[in-house]
Symmetry: C2
Subunit: 503 residues, 2 copies
Amino acid sequence: MFSESRVLCPQLKSKIMTAEQAAAFISDGDTVGMSGFTGAGYPKSLPRALADRAGAEHKAGRPFQINLWTGASTAPELDGVLAEAQGINMRLPFQSDPTCRKQINNGQMHYIDIHLSEVSQYAWSGFLGKLNIAVIEVTAIHEDGRLIPSSSIGNNKTWIEQADKIILEVNKGQNLKLEGMHDIYYGTALPPHRKPILMTKTDDRIGDSYFRIPPEKILAVVETDAPDRNSPFTPPDATSRQIADHILDFFQFEINKGRLPKELLPLQSGVGNIPNAVLEGLDTGGYKNLTAYTEVIQDGMLKMLKSGTLSSASATAFSLSPVALEELNDNIDFYRERIILRQQDISNHPEVARRLGVIAMNGLLEADIYGNVNSTHVMGTRMMNGIGGSGDFARNGYLSIFVTPSIAKNGAISSIVPMVSHVDHTEHDTKVIVTEQGLADLRGLSPRQRAKLIIDKCAHPDFRDRLHDYFERACATGRGMHTPHILGEALSWHENFERYGKM
Amino acid sequence: MFSESRVLCPQLKSKIMTAEQAAAFISDGDTVGMSGFTGAGYPKSLPRALADRAGAEHKAGRPFQINLWTGASTAPELDGVLAEAQGINMRLPFQSDPTCRKQINNGQMHYIDIHLSEVSQYAWSGFLGKLNIAVIEVTAIHEDGRLIPSSSIGNNKTWIEQADKIILEVNKGQNLKLEGMHDIYYGTALPPHRKPILMTKTDDRIGDSYFRIPPEKILAVVETDAPDRNSPFTPPDATSRQIADHILDFFQFEINKGRLPKELLPLQSGVGNIPNAVLEGLDTGGYKNLTAYTEVIQDGMLKMLKSGTLSSASATAFSLSPVALEELNDNIDFYRERIILRQQDISNHPEVARRLGVIAMNGLLEADIYGNVNSTHVMGTRMMNGIGGSGDFARNGYLSIFVTPSIAKNGAISSIVPMVSHVDHTEHDTKVIVTEQGLADLRGLSPRQRAKLIIDKCAHPDFRDRLHDYFERACATGRGMHTPHILGEALSWHENFERYGKM
């Protein structure tokens, strides 16, 4: 059907142009909503052209910056090139790009770090201002104008609906057989018009396989042929495996106690080495018919689907190594029956996360002895990536598990500190903290009880005595014994690191 | 029907006994779930008898303490007498009692501060341990055993279902005409068996008017005749009125912008002077057919229902002055058509709060220049009351508004500080902060933009220059410019207060 061209709709065929031509539609000061979530499904060609334009304008002494909204993180070809060209004034809702990060932390770029489930409703409500243009990668365009989405959905439906004008990138590099894997839910609305989301299982389909776009909103169609940013898979290291083992023991304990079913509950898992180790562990642990309700399909989940450990997985994007991508493409008919890609306001929706009872597993930068978690700020001031969907799942899921190695920078940093230097997840939301040292189950414990457990179970031995000492001296101050602290010392570990390079 | 007795069920009539006899069923170490939410519907007589028992046991050299779970805060006759008798080992999920607070903060009592919507699921899941006995106040018992709930519902349904044994207090002091005002939803379940909660309007009824109890679980029925703790109404002071005016201006602005309908969206409002001032302002501001989806029906809401400003209100409890209670009792047929009392896992449910698009208005103790909010901890260590339902609504509602006078303790404390000493609501969840000085609309702003706005709009003039100075010097450190801080100084205002009695 798409043998000659990926653009079958005649009305849109006539709008095919180069990225440079399309980039001319974007003006200085525009707010642009681009596709892209964890390095999947982002536009491959227009951002480069736009960056060149920004560069030329700056050279000519004219300002040129956009406000950039996406699903989540993207890739060097989007965030990287635009940031290098000083082309971004404001960025939301998540990023993980080194150049962006640098500009955010030296004050050049404004960054708004938003719960991923909430971006769509804020865009709809007008709280974030007007969205001028959407730039969306798709896999192909049917004759009747229906769009086959790409390897991520993210906020694309919202950008398409909210932007005044749309630029499409049609990427020949995406597998045509993605068709049918997506589930675009058209039942969302602003209050007071919202209805229940009638989903009770992770694999319920509640929407359509295609985006609908009024053709008159489309300014340009750009044809590309490029792969997603697919990073090589790093096998889990010993630390990750130890963390995974603690979590697997905990799951077994909970099953034995009758507090989790033997199929567990839908798994949500952050991206990275530790989650992949947990997935590997589950895959060899005798589990069957698990499910996933998460943001991202990683390598580990494909393996689990293949082995039958996982019966289905719901997400908003892929994040695969080149090897895993090949596996997906080779067996896409198998995976299409088991994977659903949804828009991120549904993949992360509080209503659905609460109903399904998601088990949320996310990384952290540091936790304090009372269970407050910092996921975003290095030494309280410098943005790492962002909160992403961790807050959506940790607050509304059934169990929130936070994972981290107990030390960082070769032992210069303890991940367990007297007081975190920034809070993304409060003591009210943290149920379980795990390091390679052990697992602290905080449910039903008061702050002082939590402190002892977190220090004993999670802190690295090199820091354990100092943490106990802090806690005991805090208790001895005679001030508040609910959450004892020595305020003048609570952030001194971070100060030490800034001054001496070691906590 | 209930002219002679409030206990018509023959099987339960035979279990009528004194509070002292009933208290004998409770043992040292028991976990007891009692009714009660904001001083409404708590047991009036058994806690006193239990406290006496604890006192006698202690005198005899024997230990006697319980773990006490409730809906939220109660009254001196419950929290007060038990705490004074040293009868509470662990308390959850919320309290506001002076004696409890003292014991929590001097380390005598463990306290777990939990989002009010989550208590029920934790009790069901077994995460908090076994519930031994429930002590529940009801209004009356029908011949067939159906129970008419009292002036609050809170966690009563959960305690009744989860406790091994139940003691009922039947309070003649409660109005029999409360019958029919309650809506007990029996559709809850643990995952993976949860279904959508099919509510799309604040006044949808989705349950029954009665509690169901297996009669064999009932150990005792105690008859009482006592009023709820109904505190006199204090008219809003000038500061509260100024705060209310800023919020009313904001609502009008949002309506004019087309971002809120003219009936607003369902209002959730914390208890106290400022919320009452906002309600008063709305009542005289020409609004019609507003709705409320909140925890507590306060004086202001009755007035709004009477005037037609409010068409209906959903909550889990009353918190009325004696005058307002008289008004309620005199016109209860009118109010019964307009008020629904629900269990707190529904009144605060994330699914419903998100769907209805609640406007959440809650108090705070301190906010920092970046919008992080401390609702619970005085100077970072001492518990005031607890987070209550503020997290349920602030995270999942449509708009989260936090309110506070800009100073406390006659100006010794600034409510706006460089860094909060404890975080209950993160920068991700705080949309609007209001003091009598002004309103800071934080939507769509990066941290540095927020800082300037919060200082200029919300801080008291006596502290404004020092806050600007802190922010400017933090920016000048050359460290992270995303959220600039001087770590060694960030909590110095709190230290000053602890040392010198002034920030």
